[in-house]
Point group: D2
Chain length 143, copies 4
């Protein structure tokens, strides 16, 4: 299966469909079955003490997986998260964006499965790890 939407296609798609989310994220790279998404960390993503909040990290993994699925099946926008398992491992570096590397491991008839490794921009040690399952409309994959 080849890729249907490039990084630019995905950027245009979220700007149009999810304007309130689009300002938080930037698609760094999108290839076959993989994608890198940046969380442009701002005040609203922080907890007291300056750490990026759990919900913001969840959102990064979830939006990253969603876009990775869309890049393969096209802009159907019907895929929905059914499971997300997150391990929080280290405090994010202060003042740095977060980068999520998404791997799609399966793109099946009804389910897509992938994982995300999340790091602070400029650091090697992972901040968090997520695995995600999306339910996808059968027509979208067949089409």
């Amino acid at each position: 299966m080849h890729q249907k939407m490039s990084a630019d296609d995905l950027t245009a798609f979220i700007a149009r469909e999810f304007p309130q989310v689009a300002q938080d994220f930037a698609v760094e790279e999108a290839g076959p079955m993989r994608l890198t998404l940046r969380l442009k960390v701002a005040e609203r993503h922080l907890r007291p003490g300056g750490t990026v909040s759990g919900p913001a990290i969840f959102a990064l993994a979830d939006v990253g997986m969603y876009l990775a699925v869309l890049s393969m099946i096209g802009p159907e926008a019907l895929a929905v998260t059914t499971n997300c398992s997150l391990d929080f491992m280290r405090k994010p570096a202060a003042g740095a964006d977060l980068l999520a590397e998404i791997r799609l491991l399966k793109l099946g008839r009804v389910l897509a499965v992938g994982d995300a490794l999340i790091r602070s921009d400029g650091s090697e040690a992972p901040v968090a790890r997520a695995s995600l399952t999306y339910s996808i409309p059968p027509a979208a994959v067949a089409g």
Copy 2:
């Protein structure tokens, strides 16, 4: 082990320590090893179409588990999420708050484990289910 903080204690605690989060939640009930937390759903929690967003559901489960742990160990505020696994099962009802029922299943020397069942206020069918692990400072439990 008996409960150290009541629902009122917890409400005062989050108002003082996490003012930006406090407006989103209300502690409905807090008993030994269990707690019910309400997400007061507002515009900022919604996705296009009016569904409560995934990050808002994650936050509800995570804050609920945090408060359930605090109610047992006291206001140390050092417990941190290490794992959260979420199953999203149904669309939340439009225009309804969400309620999370938290069960603490283990409160150990270094780890607390619990789960959350999340429903729309007034509905029986669960919207989501979460299991969560918190790492807790040993001193807090011993003390």
Copy 3:
């Protein structure tokens, strides 16, 4: 949706279809959207030191969820596990069977979601907790 197979039906089913597994388990109770399964702990389930092994606990949760799904959709035997998330909380009591209480939380067109609370027979404190997702053939639910 009403229940299609009783505890006796399920017992007969696994004896016929999975004879090598049937000797390990006993269906204690099967009601609408819930089931209790016993692991008849024997030497082959133990680790050195006498603890029930992780794979045996996984099998208990997985077989329990499978039977809970079958009790609702009938003996199609096509449902397959897509996700299992396990928290191990306490050592099982020595010399005791394990009991898993399964709750089906969703029985949808393509996915069933449930969880399992696992205890040593005679103890209240949970040994383990599992959440499971099964992919089910659409025809089975519709029929």
Copy 4:
């Protein structure tokens, strides 16, 4: 942190400490923070139809993570699984061994976190994916 036990050390360790498990597995490779483990698939690992069973796949991920932790902290043998989340994605190839590639993502004072990608020997497409958390005795890491 450097590696304390080689693939040969680990093989000798499991032969001595877990003889009943040792025959099922072979350590293919062990490097800093990573390890590859083979499940030598035999009749006892199979379900009707010839597929490797879920419990055998769980055991492969769990033993692999255990050995990856030991290779870094030494043969203390006290580390215990606290969480395992598994996604089952494809049927294993018939008649092939399974290989698990383990990555240690965090080796902390009290918790180790890693994941496993499981493939049939000779195939690229993953059969399953697991994330695992181990609780480790503080002394072992400090020492």
